[in-house]
């Protein structure tokens, strides 16, 4: 469309993938090579006398044979069974909720329903999983009540330490990841298409199955991917609830590395697990691809059936409108009740975590029939807490006053004004040492304070890495595609489908190998500045999945906008750097921020990768809690989780306020959050 000025072509000599270079380097160093190494390990033999307990002197495929051994293979099968069942259950449970939120409620209620779906996931994943032990315990309050009303036998609820408990908790843990993409998909459907379908005489059900559902296909696919893959590699849920019978492959792989010191067997299992996940996805995709084709084959039959149905009301000649209206109300109510039930389900463990943080007794999961703030008192130093709160309030008041004064006097536009409060607040916090020191004095029990601080530091660092890598790679993919982009997208896709446990063992076995390299080794052992080696490892480990997600979000955002704006800027004489800063960056800012939010939430909850690579001094909250689940969990873990919840909510609220001021609507944020 535009003519290319000669000087510009000279400037653009860098390879097309130049912007993606940081990502290419990052993924090669911390994903491709470590994973290949795991593949190599799988052909070795166990030798526990060595520091790296693998012997390569006579490579063999014995480990693969061992996986196909009947006993291990059964765990394999049950993992895939649990994951597929859970994915289908999530779909069945989540679909009506997403449908209800998208089509049946007012704007205000929609926001409430969506918030209610998202909010539970800001409580630590692990503590919510542990919290399921409370209502399910055979001696628990709920079980005793069920015994009293005669619903269960004398032994109480017998579901803990079985695959049933794992199934339940897995559905619970991943339901939100199914509902959100489904909602976004429904929300994007042009309502006129549904109306047209109804105007043309299609009933409620035909409209749903022939119009709404096919249009929501991509959302369903996204939801299935977002739930099924993490489920396959889940090792936390099985460890906490599964006992011997609910063992899942993720837990089994982790135990090969941690306990059995059988890296070859663990590696072989991990490799086969990826293969199984890919195979399941291929089978699933084939089914999805085949079903419409098969439906096309029977099209004449269905057409005839539809015609017959459409003509029936006329033959009967009754009052279709009132019947349809009643049916509408019934449907509406049913969907509403269902949604309410699902939301209650989502909030059960969260409510229990809150309740049990006030437990008087000595273990988190056992209710002592007495409320007490003793564990809060033990975790927090009351006086320091009050001081901090007071100081914080004073800073907020000062910032507000400053804003009023400045607003009245200044000639700034509204846009600048909006930044005064947040930046003033941040400045005040830093000056007061609140951000850097608050945790040190606030907690009486320093372990949890450190864990919460480390969680934030790790998630923040990993998010920054993810946004930088994902942002630049996303721009490169959208603006400078080429042969490289296919290969790059394959790696991104692999990162997304590789179960976390595989990445965890890959990195856990990779870091010891690179620690003798000159500079890199130093970063991952001694660290740099205030950040120790363990924290640097966490940034690497947590940034992997997050950066892949950001890459996709940014790419999707830019692909929707053609390059004419940048070209116009170039035509007007802007050098590429300036065009990037003034045109491209603002275009992708919202996608990067939304991707960053999602990364932050994911990293904050990261237990699998973190627990395998973390070290003393970089223990995050989920890692510390995972350690504690091996013996008795004291109620102060609940207190820690609740505190973490409030701090997370506050930071997110802060970000959303900034985003709102920056012009992004809440709906946009939600849509981008789900990666669509």
């Amino acid at each position: 469309m535009s003519t290319t000025a000669p000087p510009r072509t000279v400037r653009l000599r860098a390879p097309r993938f130049a912007l993606a270079l940081p990502s290419i380097f990052w993924y090669t160093a911390f994903f491709v090579v470590p994973i290949l190494l795991v593949v190599v390990y799988s052909f070795g033999t166990k030798d526990s006398s060595k520091l790296v307990p693998v012997d390569f002197s006579n490579p063999s495929t014995a480990s693969y044979g061992a996986v196909f051994d009947e006993t291990f293979f059964q765990v394999f099968r049950s993992t895939v069974r649990i994951s597929i069942t859970a994915t289908l259950l999530c779909l069945l449970i989540g679909l009506p909720v997403a449908y209800f939120a998208a089509f049946k409620v007012t704007e205000k209620w929609r926001a409430i329903v969506l918030a209610a779906v998202v909010v539970p996931s800001f409580t630590s994943f692990l503590i919510r999983t542990v919290a399921w032990r409370i209502p399910l315990a055979p001696n628990g309050v709920f079980s005793k009540w069920l015994q009293d009303i005669g619903l269960v036998g004398d032994k109480g609820i017998q579901i803990l330490e079985t695959a049933g408990a794992v199934q339940l908790a897995i559905v619970y843990n991943y339901l939100g990841f199914m509902i959100l993409p489904l909602y976004v998909a429904f929300d994007r459907i042009d309502i006129r298409l549904r109306e047209a379908s109804k105007d043309l005489g299609a009933g409620r059900f035909s409209t749903f199955f022939s119009v709404t559902l096919p249009l929501a296909g991509p959302g369903i696919a996204a939801g299935v991917l977002l739930t099924f893959i993490p489920m396959c590699g889940d090792y936390v849920t099985a460890t906490v609830l599964g006992g011997a019978k609910g063992n899942m492959i993720g837990a089994m792989i982790a135990s090969q590395f941690n306990q059995a010191q059988n890296w070859p067997l663990g590696s072989a299992m991990a490799v086969l697990m990826i293969a199984a996940v890919l195979l399941t996805l291929v089978v699933g995709a084939t089914i999805v691809w085949l079903v419409p084709k098969l439906l096309m084959l029977i099209e004449p039959v269905t057409q005839a059936w539809r015609r017959a149905r459409a003509s029936r009301p006329r033959n009967v000649g009754s009052k279709p409108s009132s019947i349809s209206a009643t049916a509408d109300t019934v449907l509406h109510r049913t969907l509403g009740v269902w949604t309410a039930l699902v939301l209650v389900f989502l909030f059960i463990p969260v409510a229990l975590v809150f309740l049990h943080s006030f437990n008087r007794g000595n273990s988190f999961t056992i209710w002592s029939y007495a409320v007490s703030t003793k564990w809060w008192g033990e975790l927090f130093d009351g006086a320091v807490f009050a001081q901090t709160a007071l100081l914080f309030a004073a800073i907020v008041v000062a910032a507000l006053v400053a804003r009023r004064v400045l607003k009245r006097r200044s000639q700034f536009g509204g846009g600048y004004n909006a930044w005064i409060v947040p930046s003033g607040l941040a400045l005040a916090l830093v000056v007061n040492g609140l951000i850097t020191n608050w945790y040190a004095n606030l907690f009486d029990f320093s372990g949890i304070g450190d864990a919460i601080r480390n969680s934030f530091l790790a998630a923040l660092g990993a998010t920054i890495v993810a946004v930088l890598l994902g942002g630049s790679a996303g721009v490169a993919l959208a603006r400078r595609p080429g042969r490289w982009s296919t290969a790059f997208m394959v790696v991104v896709f692999l990162i997304l489908v590789t179960p976390e446990i595989m990445e965890a063992i890959a990195l856990a076995t990779w870091f010891p190998r690179i620690q003798d390299l000159p500079i890199v080794g130093h970063i991952f052992t001694a660290g740099w500045g205030p950040f120790n080696g363990g924290m640097n490892k966490l940034w690497v480990g947590q940034s992997m999945y997050a950066s892949a997600v950001v890459t996709l979000i940014v790419r999707a955002r830019l692909s929707g906008l053609d390059e004419s704006l940048e070209q116009a800027a170039a035509d007007l004489g802007a050098p590429p750097a300036r065009a990037f800063r003034q045109i491209t960056l603002p275009l992708i800012a919202s996608a990067m921020i939304a991707g960053g939010l999602l990364s932050f939430a994911l990293c904050l909850d990261n237990a699998v990768v973190s627990s395998l690579i973390s070290e003393a001094g970089s223990t995050t909250f989920p890692v510390a809690l995972l350690g504690a689940t091996r013996s008795t969990i004291k109620p102060f873990w609940g207190v820690g989780a609740v505190s973490l919840f409030f701090v997370t909510m506050a930071s997110l609220w802060f970000l959303v306020v900034i985003l709102r001021r920056g012009g992004a609507s809440a709906g946009n944020i939600a849509a981008t959050l789900t990666g669509s």
């Binding site: 019978k245 306990q259 010191q261």
Partner: protein, 408 residues
């Protein structure tokens, strides 16, 4: 921060703290300021069964009580719930001047993997391996030599718990505590008479099938079979190992409900009606069961018979420890009798100090369930200490198969 406040800060409710200072006052303040903390904290132990009540302050007898102040943070990698929270929290801060960071592992193998992965940079100062694992940790360079001049309180240990085979000159390790292994069952559900490992195995395979938990370590799991059949668990005979594997994998595994090294909480939840366990953890189960509204009298502890384990966990300093000075100070401090007994009351394991009987009588006269902590000479005679032999690898493999089979 007000120094006095910090010294008296213990992990107990405010009301209790007040009563504690009053009590210290009434007793006439004979104890030194530091021990006023100890005194109160002894009563502040947070389990009913481990609540020792008032202690008599400082023990008589000839003990070394050197406390070396240190500073900074001290990272300990240890077994779950293995120290009194007061000691690793407020007391370590006020008495030693160090801030403890504690992480937990469930088995010696986990510990070794973590340290090996860090290869001298794991960031941990103190680790707590079980004695027999020490030689291979030395060989792999995972722990460093101790500077015994910084551990003068070492003389407080009973000679029975020093100079063990795995570290004959205590160059690398100091006894933290020791204990044994047995099982615990609900007599309303398991009504037969239970005395030996064989009884336990039979119960697990019959009325307790699908309702029993096993310690999640390979040597304990296989050891159970050896002891039940009258063998020494250090026997390296291949035929016995094969028989052990055959029985445990093919016949026994399917009855197991969970692999759980710390069953006390889950016993209280009602998750199992019988469980293999270490004496200290099972002792805590009594109070947890009471907490959960259950009846502790329904539960019976049986020390494994005809033979069972004697394990000893030791304090070692990790190779490349960031703060070895604090690590030595900690090990030394844990050997101060008052601290040691306070820890003992919490976790329920014998800490191995000399003249333990007198010490307990003086410092913790109300100690409950002492028979689960201190064993008679007849019982100790049946104890076998694990030796690390090539069979360990095989046992780990057997455990691996048991787990796979149990999940099937």
């Amino acid at each position: 921060m007000n120094n006095e406040k910090k010294q008296l800060r213990i992990l107990a409710p405010e009301s209790f703290r007040r009563s504690l200072s009053r009590r210290a006052f009434i007793q006439g303040g004979t104890a030194a300021a530091g021990f006023a903390v100890l005194l109160g904290a002894c009563g502040g132990s947070d389990d009913a069964a481990t609540d020792g009540g008032d202690s008599g302050g400082e023990a008589t007898g000839d003990y070394s009580r050197v406390i070396n102040k240190s500073s900074g943070s001290l990272a300990m990698y240890t077994w779950g719930d293995y120290n009194d929270p007061d000691i690793i929290g407020a007391l370590a801060e006020s008495e030693l001047g160090v801030t403890m960071k504690v992480d937990y592992y469930p088995s010696n193998e986990d510990l070794i993997t973590k340290l090996a992965a860090g290869a001298g940079n794991s960031g941990f100062d103190i680790v707590v391996p079980t004695g027999p694992y020490i030689p291979q940790m030395i060989e792999k360079g995972l722990i460093q030599k101790l500077d015994m001049s910084k551990i003068p309180n070492f003389v407080n240990l009973d000679t029975a718990y020093i100079s063990r085979d795995w570290d004959p000159n205590n160059e690398y390790s100091v006894c933290k505590n020791w204990g044994s292994t047995g099982y615990f069952y609900n007599k309303t559900k398991i009504t037969r008479k239970m005395e030996t490992w064989q009884d336990f195995i039979d119960a697990c395979m019959n009325e307790g099938s699908g309702d029993c938990a096993m310690i999640d370590t390979a040597p304990n799991m296989c050891g159970m079979w050896y002891w039940a059949n009258g063998h020494n668990w250090n026997d390296q005979d291949a035929a016995k190992l094969d028989a052990c594997e055959k029985f445990l994998v093919d016949e026994f595994a399917q009855h197991i409900k969970a692999f759980d090294s710390y069953p006390s909480t889950k016993l209280a939840e009602g998750a199992y009606s019988l469980a293999m366990g270490w004496n200290g953890d099972i002792r805590q189960a009594y109070s947890r069961i009471a907490d959960a509204g259950g009846n502790p009298d329904e539960w019976v502890w049986v020390l494994g018979a005809p033979a069972t384990e004697l394990w000893m966990d030791t304090y070692c300093v990790a190779a490349g420890a960031p703060n070895p000075d604090a690590a030595h100070a900690w090990i030394n401090w844990e050997l101060v009798p008052e601290i040691s007994i306070k820890d003992l009351q919490y976790h329920g394991y014998n800490t191995g100090l000399k003249n333990m009987d007198t010490l307990v009588a003086e410092l913790a006269p109300d100690l409950k369930l002492g028979e689960m902590i201190f064993f008679s000479p007849d019982q100790v005679a049946t104890f076998q200490t694990q030796e690390i032999t090539p069979t360990l690898d095989r046992m780990v493999d057997i455990m691996n198969k048991i787990k796979a089979k149990a999940g099937a």
